[in-house]
Amino acid sequence: MAEKIIFRKTGKQPTPGDIVVLPIDAAMAHDGTAPLMIKSFEAMGARRVWSRDKAVFVIDHISPSSNEGTSALHKMMRDFAASYGVTLYDVGEGICHQILPEKGYIFPGGVVVGADSHTCTHGAFAAFSTGIGSTDMAAVFASGKLWFKVPETLRINITGALPSNVMSKDAIIYAIGKVGADGATYKAVEFSGNAVKNMTMDSRMTMCNMAIEMGGKTGLIASDSVTRQFLEGRIHVPFVELAADGDANYSDVLEIEAEKLEPQLSCPHQVDNVKPVSSLEGMHVDQVFIGSCTNGRLEDLRVVVKVLRGKKVKARTIVMPASREIMLGAIREGLIEELVKAGCAVGVPGCGPCVGGHHGVPSPAETVISTTNRNFKGRMGCADADIYLASPLTAAYAALYGKLAIPMGV
């Protein structure tokens, strides 16, 4: 599929390993990466941003700001956006990878770059989307183009139906355990099979979001009626159905039988250190975080509320919806009220504790169950805390009991 998208853009059949130059359909930097990008852009002496409609800033990582230094960087972004005509989504709007599809920047066949490693999320919409650094982004802002090495493709084929207590998060954690943290380096990771076909857009985004945790350049899922439904009314280009050819070449194929999966955990301090929840049942849990670009969507909040409705949490539980749109949806459905009543701390849409800047930094020797995508040492701001990654369902059970439990289906 990656090759197909590149072909559509260049008109030439690419071969893995080729270097190609692609025009960019959307380019995003956030408060962790935009300041350096601005510095590089200005140092280059570039005069204008190539497109007002395709260049986006998002303030989501430390949002709202927790200190003067961050506030100054935020201001730097606002000033740049105002003078160069870049669209800026400010505090409270949500996480970049959620906002981009919601606001219509992402469509099947598009080429998307983000100065953030989880830009691979947009592959859920059959877009070729990958993370780059700040200076690369400055080059894109200046020219609207960038070079890429055409990736090989690793296919992950998930067949059958997921058990009722297993979410797409469990499937992707399991796959990362099999492939390893660098098993897909430089490759596109394509997810296929009827289990993927039957997933909601929310679930598919979770899968593609974590492609980078096996080293992948982008995740990719074919576009279909589910994609179309999400994008309807959001995008301004014609919708295309984009799927892999029947005779597509793959460097590797991983087959997963959905029925055999059970709830999974990424254990400290590597995402590919994977164990089933059953092997650590009963482990004490101090803090639970539900949110992030991996699992802060409406479907995730619904699952959590199903578990917590009318009950009280035993572990400290922080919930942050991934965007304003999701927050509004959750308010309308009464989810926020249930979460607050259950004793959760519900916060501003944004990255929250995921990256350890503020809002819920654990203390040393604490155990955290988090629905995010990384558990590296120090990730949440404390190098001596143990972070376990899990599905929202497993996280909700951990919140409810204050210890790890095998979730029942919802």
């Binding site: 962790g32 200076t135 080059a139 183009k145 660098d182 120090g378």
Partner: protein, 168 residues
């Protein structure tokens, strides 16, 4: 730039950007004198005070995995490290390194036999690392990346040429 000789600092596999420069610092400042004091802090808390100009980092596989933060190669360069040799790199880190003018080289064969304090010599044009009496070869850096490196990174490259080499 063609030949780099330096003392080795050895690291293991999967050195993430969170270990190279913890996320909590990067949101507060882009002053690299400040940030560089935390270079490699997660893997070796004293690294920034021990390292000297021209030293070379040698590491295992998947060096620079994790976030896209360009601060990671920048702090490494800022403390004086002249190059990083690893079994493999995470792709964003790899791109970022060239963009900021830090040579990085994939040389799986060299890594196991080498330890902190050894001296290595990197011959970029030849695609060769000399360590003691042995020579190890690596896949030469693609020419257009070499151009960016020789110009001193992408910013200087654009300043010098008014465009990017891949647009030509």
């Amino acid at each position: 730039m063609q030949v780099l000789k330096g003392k080795v600092w050895k690291f293991g596999d999967d050195i993430s950007t969170d270990l190279i420069i913890p996320g909590k610092y990067k949101f507060k400042t882009i002053d690299f004198n400040e940030l560089a004091r935390h270079a490699m802090e997660g893997a070796d808390p004293q690294f920034s005070s021990k390292v000297s100009k021209g030293d070379i980092i040698v590491a295992g596989k998947n060096f620079g995995c994790g976030s896209s933060r360009e601060q990671a190669p920048v702090v490494i360069k800022h403390v004086g490290v002249s190059a990083v040799v690893a079994k493999s790199f995470a792709r964003i880190f790899y791109r970022n390194s060239f963009n900021i003018g830090l040579p990085v080289v994939e040389c799986p064969d060299l890594v196991d036999g080498i330890k902190t304090g050894d001296t290595v010599e990197l011959r970029l044009a030849e695609g060769e690392v000399l360590a003691g009496t042995r020579a190890y070869s690596f896949k030469p850096i693609p020419p257009f990346l070499m151009t960016i490196l020789q110009d001193g990174g992408l910013v200087e490259h654009f300043k010098k040429r008014g465009g990017f080499v891949w647009e030509e």
